[in-house]
Every structure is written in structure tokens, then in C-alpha cells.
């Protein structure tokens, strides 16, 4: 399945604002993150398991156990700091 992956704040600075990623179904957000980390380089650095990140699926906060569907928009970003 094809996913639109978006990054914000420090992740956007490191990886760019968005990319399209293909991954075999079924897969969770955690599987997608692992897959991106496996690419190495900056992806491995900023998405590393030790780093506290949050994620959204189709513009709603989710935890990484969330199941992905074809065409989904997944976003990774640091903890939020608005207000």
C-alpha cells in the first residue's frame, strides 16, 4: 500500500516535509517507523526508537499500534509545544 508520510518541526528540518512510502499490508505505524529507520542515514537518526516522538494517522493522534490503510496520511513529529 502507498502512504503519504509527513514530518513536522525538527523532523521536517531533517527529512523534508513529506514523502510517499510503499509498505506491504497489513502494517502498523510502528512497522512503518521501523521501516524508515532501516533506511539508515538521517531517517535512522531522527526516527530512532530511543527518541520520544508522536504520530498522527489521518490527522488524529494515535499510538504506534494503529493499523495503516492504503492512501493513509501518517505524520511523525516531536512532542507538541503550543499554547
Amino acid at each position: 500500500m502507498k502512504l503519504q508520510v509527513r514530518y513536522f518541526a525538527s523532523l521536517r528540518e531533517a527529512l523534508g516535509p513529506a514523502e510517499t512510502v510503499e509498505i506491504a499490508a497489513p502494517a502498523t505505524v510502528a512497522a512503518l517507523r521501523d521501516r524508515l529507520v532501516a533506511r539508515g542515514g538521517r531517517h535512522a537518526e531522527v526516527l530512532a526508537r530511543g527518541r520520544v516522538l508522536r504520530c498522527a494517522l489521518d490527522r488524529a493522534m494515535v499510538d504506534e499500534a494503529a493499523e495503516l490503510a492504503d492512501g493513509a496520511e501518517v505524520a511523525f513529529f516531536p512532542p507538541v509545544t503550543g499554547g
Binding site: 513536522f8 507538541v80 509545544t81 503550543g82
Partner: protein
């Protein structure tokens, strides 16, 4: 009825916002508001300003859901959130949360609830500009604790 949520690069007028929030509703007897401003003192010393980034589309949706939850929890008549994005100088207004209700208790509570909720669940990120360069602000566990008082687990910081 005006929009409940506005994300904007432009400044806002608190008086005009409060007037609009209660306009035409004779049942309103209380207005509570919170305004957050850019502090000159950041985590790493004095700052010259900041940049605010957000996730367009998700931000509005997330705050709309927070207002729905506030309407369920508290006896309030209307609520409004305005949040700035882009470049902000020290002293500028960042965020307005305003609530109208019949009596003050619900307005105070809903205003604090919305602010606590927004702090850890709305997708905004602050970057402070200092003499040493720019740095992303770290999330505070105190903000997670503030939301926990309302029985909601933040899982942010």
C-alpha cells in the same frame, strides 16, 4: 455564528473576540479568557522572538474536538480558540482561549481545561530564537500533569 477555531498569522483583539463570543446571547453571565504571550526569557536564556509551526488541517480538527469535549464536560454556552503561527516577537500574543457561560465556575474551569488540553494535544511547535541560534522548545512534563488532573492521559512530554 463565528468560527470556534482560528489559526492565523495575524494578531487578535481580545475585547472584540469576547464581545463576539457573547453577542446575542442573553443567557451569558460570565466570560473567562486566557491569553498566552511570548516571554522574553526562554529555556536557554533570553530570546529575541519565536516561530510557531503547526499541522494545517489537523490542528483545527484537534481543537474543535477539544471544544466539543469542553461543551460536554462543563455547563458553558460558547467557546473560542485563536492561535497564532509564524514569526512572533517578544511580548506578542500567541493564543486566546475564551469561554462564555451563565455562571463563572464553568467558564473558569472550561477555560483552564481547554488550555491544558491544547498544550499537549494540539500539533504546534515553538522554535525560540536566541543570540546562540534557534532551538526547538522542549515539551514539559508539567503540562502532561496539568491535563492528568482532568482525567486525561497526555502522553506528550
Amino acid at each position: 455564528m463565528t468560527a470556534r477555531v482560528t489559526i492565523t498569522g495575524a494578531d487578535f483583539d481580545v475585547g472584540a473576540e469576547l464581545a463576539r463570543l457573547r453577542a446575542g446571547d442573553g443567557g451569558v453571565g460570565a466570560l473567562a479568557s486566557f491569553v498566552g504571550t511570548v516571554r522574553g526569557q526562554g529555556e536557554a536564556g533570553s530570546i529575541g522572538g519565536m516561530e510557531l509551526e503547526h499541522y494545517p488541517g489537523m490542528t483545527e480538527q484537534a481543537i474543535e474536538a477539544m471544544i466539543d469535549e469542553a461543551m460536554r464536560r462543563f455547563d458553558i454556552r460558547a467557546a473560542r480558540v485563536v492561535h497564532r503561527v509564524g514569526t512572533l516577537a517578544v511580548g506578542e500574543q500567541i493564543v486566546l482561549v475564551a469561554v462564555a457561560s451563565a455562571h463563572r465556575g464553568a467558564a473558569f474551569q472550561a477555560c483552564e481545561f481547554l488550555m491544558d488540553y491544547l498544550k499537549t494535544q494540539a500539533p504546534f511547535w515553538k522554535k525560540e530564537h536566541t543570540a546562540q541560534g534557534a532551538r526547538w522548545v522542549d515539551a514539559r512534563s508539567a503540562d502532561d500533569a496539568a491535563l492528568a488532573r482532568w482525567g486525561i492521559e497526555a502522553r506528550n512530554a
